[in-house]
């Protein structure tokens, strides 16, 4: 998109205007984060830019809310709960989802559309309906208020993401590779683990990240399904927003944003590495 030498003035203006517009939209996308991060250093207990903060007076800032986040059991408990729930839900979603995506990518799958629709349904059914439905049903079978109840529900919510990303990867997957493995004498399991899995790994990982974030950021279902013992970070944030609006929420969010950036960067590096491996040079 470099500007060619023959561009007219109008084109030049538009060229830069377009970039400015895109810049503004991208700014809109991250604007909330730009609010969240500074406010988490607020020395006061409100979500407000205090005059001290605006004057960049050091007194207007403090690490108090971070201290609160890292020491208060009200936050640490949920943090650990989230860390106990999300990975297990992710693992479940990824294991089952990958298996099914591999199945779905085969050439002869009866009722493929219907099956796909069912597997994707947790993504399209409005969350409040899912939450309520699971609440009543899980109560009936004794899963409500249990760790496994939340894990199962979160796994179900994460599965569409795994299915979507892994099937997308499999669409680009060269079937002749698995055939080659078979022709070389490898059975189906071995072919899967040694040939298919390493190659679709980026898709699986990105599906896993989506599943993870789904669970890690989920508040509606867990509030219905969880008992006090399964209180997760978003739940705690939600309570915080309702009962005690405190920038500790923002401190928690900032920590999570930092983690997200790390994860995304890791993903990008992984993708680049994979491209190098496969010899796909960028463009």
């Amino acid at each position: 998109m470099a500007l060619p030498s023959y561009a007219s003035t109008g084109q030049r203006v538009w060229h830069y205007a377009f970039r400015v517009i895109c810049g503004l939209i991208l700014f809109y996308l991250i604007a909330p984060l730009l609010v969240v991060v500074p406010l988490s250093f607020n020395a006061q207990d409100f979500f407000t830019f205090t005059p001290e903060m605006l004057r960049l007076d050091p007194a207007g800032y403090s690490l108090e809310h971070y201290r609160d986040f890292f020491t208060n059991v009200d936050w640490q408990g949920p943090l650990w709960n989230s860390l106990a729930i999300a990975p297990v839900a992710t693992l479940l979603a990824v294991a089952l989802g990958t298996l099914a995506a591999v199945g779905l990518s085969q050439s002869h799958v009866p009722f493929k559309r219907a099956i796909m629709a069912i597997l994707i349904s947790p993504m399209i059914v409005p969350l409040i309906i899912s939450a309520a439905g699971m609440y009543f049903f899980y109560s009936r079978i004794g899963l409500q208020g249990t760790y496994w109840g939340v894990v199962l529900a979160h796994a179900a919510l994460g599965i569409p993401f795994v299915i979507i990303t892994v099937t997308a990867t499999l669409v680009g997957f060269d079937k002749s590779l698995t055939r080659a493995a078979a022709s070389l004498g490898a059975g189906p399991m071995r072919t899967f683990w040694t040939v298919q899995m390493p190659l679709i790994l980026p898709g699986v990982i990105s599906g896993a990240l989506f599943a993870f974030i789904t669970s890690f950021d989920e508040v509606v279902v867990v509030m219905f399904l969880g008992a006090a013992g399964q209180k997760t970070l978003p739940w705690q944030m939600f309570i915080g927003l309702r009962e005690q609006i405190s920038p500790t929420i923002l401190a928690a969010a900032t920590v999570l944003i930092a983690v997200s950036i790390l994860l995304l960067a890791a993903l990008e590096l992984l993708r680049r590495r994979n491209e190098r491996l496969r010899g796909l040079t960028p463009n």
Binding site: T48, F136, S139, R140, G229, K231, I239, R242, I245
Partner: protein, 357 residues
């Protein structure tokens, strides 16, 4: 402190409890005043569940599912009434379970009016009242001192925040529409009474931000988003005393209500024993008075009143912030729990429809 000697051992009791409460400062006061001391003495595990906002829904769903995760539920009076009416809460023989007053008063006398039904163990009086900013330029130095100033957007321009619920709002609207406080519920029950209240609310509807959670009004006041707003008096206490915001309270026609415990129906014996053991401890005279050190709510026991002193951390005299302080009680309303229990369904539906219009 001295309670350790009194606390009898608990035979055949469950070793853990799940308590549903409101979270925030209120829950913190409960924690400090009696849950932590109780844990210190018994070593049981206590888990909090901050869903008192949806207490009835949670209880009902849990009951329908036959799987009751909560041992003790903190609810407002009307919810207690409803839970009791619907069989969601167990009946409690307060005389047997609770400790008599430290001054020797019987349980019934000590709690007095707050014992609104057979399921309820009250803890505190709280009131819903208004806070206003003191730095509103447009008011030209005037400050609201009358409930009806809330409805007067010419003298006191600016946004207000009100609870997205008919309770209290309808009563206040009627009072400002000229109904004597004593007749409010009578008028509400009459044909067209609710509509009359709503019509009064219509006059300020465009200036209202509706809140559903107690923390919203303080935040809105602090953000200058509203100039005046209703909330629980304890919340305003923390805005004023702890956060030092330029806010003051308007006590005129503060609306009293109770907050207290109910025990879900159908707990097994071990859990029931534990809950009763805890209630005995947590609602004695000293414990309820202790709670008022952490939050500006009045203890439900008469015998605790004299023990209320200063804030545990700030050292502020708590009395001026107490709804029960005579200075604050020149005009007040008491939430008519029974009337609300009977009429909540229809009034709520009408009100929500009105809101959605």
């Amino acid at each position: 402190q001295d309670a350790s000697a009194e606390l009898p051992p608990c035979e055949g009791c469950a070793e853990s409890m799940v308590i549903m409460s409101w979270g925030g400062a209120y829950q913190n006061s409960q924690l400090k005043a009696y849950v932590e001391p109780y844990i210190a003495q018994t070593g049981i595990a206590v888990t909090w569940d901050e869903s008192s906002n949806e207490a009835i829904a949670k209880l009902r769903a849990a009951q329908e599912a036959g799987n009751m995760p909560f041992d003790l539920v903190d609810v407002e009076g009307p919810d207690a009434q409803r839970a009791c009416d619907e069989g969601l809460a167990a009946e409690i023989d307060v005389a047997e379970v609770l400790a008599p007053g430290a001054d020797g008063a019987t349980v019934e006398d000590d709690f007095g009016d707050s014992l609104i039904n057979d399921c309820y163990v009250p803890q505190i009086y709280f009131s819903t009242t208004f806070g206003y900013r003191t730095d509103v330029a447009e008011w030209n130095g005037a400050t609201p001192d009358d409930l009806c100033d809330v409805f007067d957007t010419t003298a006191f321009p600016g946004k207000r925040s009100l609870q997205a619920s008919p309770k209290k709002n309808l009563e206040w609207a009627l009072i400002c529409d000229g109904v004597p406080a004593a007749d409010v519920y009578k008028v509400l029950e009459e044909e067209g009474g609710v509509e009359r209240a709503l019509a009064k609310l219509d006059t300020i509807k465009g200036d209202v931000i509706w809140w559903t959670a107690g923390a919203e009004t303080p935040q809105l006041l602090a953000d200058k988003e509203v100039v005046i707003g209703s909330t629980y008096n304890g919340r305003l206490f923390s805005v004023i005393a702890e956060q030092g915001q330029p806010v003051e309270m308007l006590w005129d026609y503060q609306n009293f209500d109770f907050d207290g415990w109910i025990v879900p129906a159908g707990l097994d014996e071990a859990r029931m024993n534990r809950v009763m053991h805890f209630l005995h401890f947590a609602t004695d005279t000293q414990r309820l008075a202790d709670q008022a050190k952490y939050i500006a709510y009045g203890p439900a026991r008469a015998s605790s009143q004299p023990l209320v002193s200063t804030h545990a951390e700030l050292g502020i005299e708590m009395a001026p912030f107490m709804p029960t302080n005579p200075d604050n009680m020149k005009n007040f309303l008491v939430n008519n729990i029974e009337w609300w229990a009977d009429h909540q369904d229809e009034v709520e539906a009408t009100f929500q429809n009105w809101l959605a219009q």
